[in-house]
Amino acid sequence: MSALWAELALGWRRAVRGALLSTLLAALALCLLALPGRDDAGLTRTGYGLFLAWGILLVAALWCGGTAYALDRDRHRLSLALTKPIGRWTLWWGRFLGTLAPFAAAVAALWLLTAWRPFPEGRAVLRPTNLPDLSAQAEAWLDGLREQGRVPEGASDSRLLRATRETLETRPAELRPGEAKTYLFPAPSRAGKVTFRLSGRPFLGARDALRLCITAACAGETWTFRPDSLPETALTVDLPSGFAKPGEPLSVTLLREDANDAALILYRERADVALLGPGQSPPANLAAFCLALLLTVAMAAALGTALGCAFSLPVTLFVGTLAFAAAAAATLSPETAVVDEVASVWARASTFISACVAWPFRGLAALDPLGRLMGGEAIGFGAALKLAATAVLPWCAAWSLLAMLSPLTDESR
């Protein structure tokens, strides 16, 4: 442990006394305070600033992880450490944690720089529980494709099933004239404001002719609401105060009362229908976002440190930057299609590499911390910590294992 702390302290001092930490803080301040734009009441500028800051931190972590070992090796500073009774694992984890420490400070500074912004409250998102299980549909669909001989060769059943299920999940459902659909929601965890939301631009065509009746029911009470006009984007309806009871499931029925064929109501049942319940305060939501951000920074640092053990400094920086470009596209985009593209490339190379690389990014993409922060949805600390345990830590451990395959010597590459 003493050696681990020594390496951590070394990385911290390197960052503080060199230009790293001050440069990071300056870059963050620039992104979050000085981004051009007239009015930030809608937090657009802040959102872009966070996006840029995230990218900067990821690239910097990758590079710093790479130099943590490679730079000392190339400048012949490693021989003294390698002649000490320190294990390879300790050396790697110490360098990795030493790289991560200043970034943790930078993320904390990011929280301080933005905590005073008027972020929306992080509402708890409750999804319908009575939607049909798509696995059976997906299997039936695949069976049909097999009968027609249209299943692509070489594709594994599990991957096809997953892709089919994801396609079905994102396929929009239509609420036809005179049709009613009822969605059951789990009980909110505590008393507070509850809002029904139908997002994703559901109202198409002659919107003015649409007539929608929304009926909520909870603990034997019902409440009906007919909006005078339907918005272009998301429809949000606040339920009356005290209507939703903690511990009592709630249902919402959408009834289309018009007979107009010139207008459509189309939405994805799994993604666009939600009940927003009491969640966490804006500073707490921002803190959860920062935790998720730190996890991705840790992944970048782990990758960089492992590359630095195996390759020379220029190669490390080059390979690391390429890896970052691919990983960033998968991590920062909430679209699982991008993750699938990344996963499919790796799958062609090796199924094992695919499992190692794609799965942590799926988890992060599903968490979508930036989207939730800006959209007023709660980013669960539990979800972030679960991601840390199930994806980030194994990712870091896997890269440390790969780093052990390279000879940890002080010979220049």
Partner: protein, 261 residues
């Protein structure tokens, strides 16, 4: 108790990326260093001294033969715990002060608390850098960096001290202090392996020497058995045909300085 250091028929060949041999750096080298003995490893440039030292420290894999440090393989943690090492070029972290540098390496040895604190202060005084203990090493001269390097080599109270050019870069006072230190450590039973080009220093400190030339041991024995100055013996061993002026060896180089007088 095992000998501090034993090398038996050690070989090392450097290879290129494709595995083809490029340089046979060490060819069948054997020697041993006993407790309380100061052993000098001598040789011209490129003779294999640094390669030998790096192999016995576990920094370089050998291609053949055996190396034992107190009976342990040189890559083992037990061996590393018993060795203090001063490299030929002391590259320290420039953003650390001497006190922080010693604390860092002390922690790598597993030291901590009061033990580490006291040792660090003692070694700062021993190395003569106590007055600049809180100044960053990046601002130091080569000699002062060397002194800090020597201090870190003693942190773990080593039983085998490996010094690669220990007096390089030091002023005459520093050189004298290092030689006195080596003799003092010897009297305490610490084995010392030193590599040096400064033959007077070697003659002052070493009990036995080995002369290496192109990876092969040319001579090995006790300094006290020499019947002539070490410098003469060294030159006879590595250049038995006699010394030739470099200018004559290169054909005179008439374009250099207006030609011969």
């Amino acid at each position: 108790m095992s000998e501090p250091l034993v090398l038996d028929d050690v070989r090392k060949t450097f290879r290129d990326f494709w595995g083809r041999p490029t340089v046979e750096a060490v060819k069948g080298l054997s020697f041993a260093v006993g407790p309380g003995e100061v052993f000098g490893l001598l040789g011209p440039n490129g003779s294999g001294k640094s390669t030998t030292i790096r192999m016995l420290l576990g920094l370089l894999r050998r291609d053949g033969g055996d190396i034992r440090v107190f009976g342990e393989p040189p890559e083992s943690r037990r061996a590393h715990a018993a060795i203090g090492y001063l490299p030929e070029l002391t590259h320290l972290h420039p953003f650390l002060t001497p006190r922080e540098t010693l604390r860092y390496y002390g922690r790598l040895f597993g030291l901590g608390g009061r033990t580490l604190r006291d040792r660090v202060e003692d070694l700062l005084r021993l190395a003569g850098v106590a007055h600049v203990a809180d100044r960053r090493v990046g601002t130091f001269s080569k000699g002062m960096t060397r002194r800090v390097g020597l201090a870190q080599a003693l942190l773990n109270a080593p039983r085998l001290l490996v010094l690669d050019e220990p007096t390089s870069g030091l002023d005459p006072i520093g050189t004298r202090e290092v030689k006195d230190l080596i003799l003092a450590l010897k009297s305490r039973g610490i084995a010392v392996l030193m590599s040096s080009h400064l033959l007077p220093d070697v003659q002052d400190c070493c009990d036995r020497i080995l002369i290496l030339d192109r990876g092969v041991c040319r001579a090995q024995g006790r300094v006290s058995d020499l019947k002539e100055p070490l410098e003469d013996f060294f030159l006879e061993t590595v250049a038995p045909t006699g010394h030739v002026s470099p200018l004559d060896a290169a054909g005179g180089l008439p374009w250099l300085g207006g030609g011969p007088a």
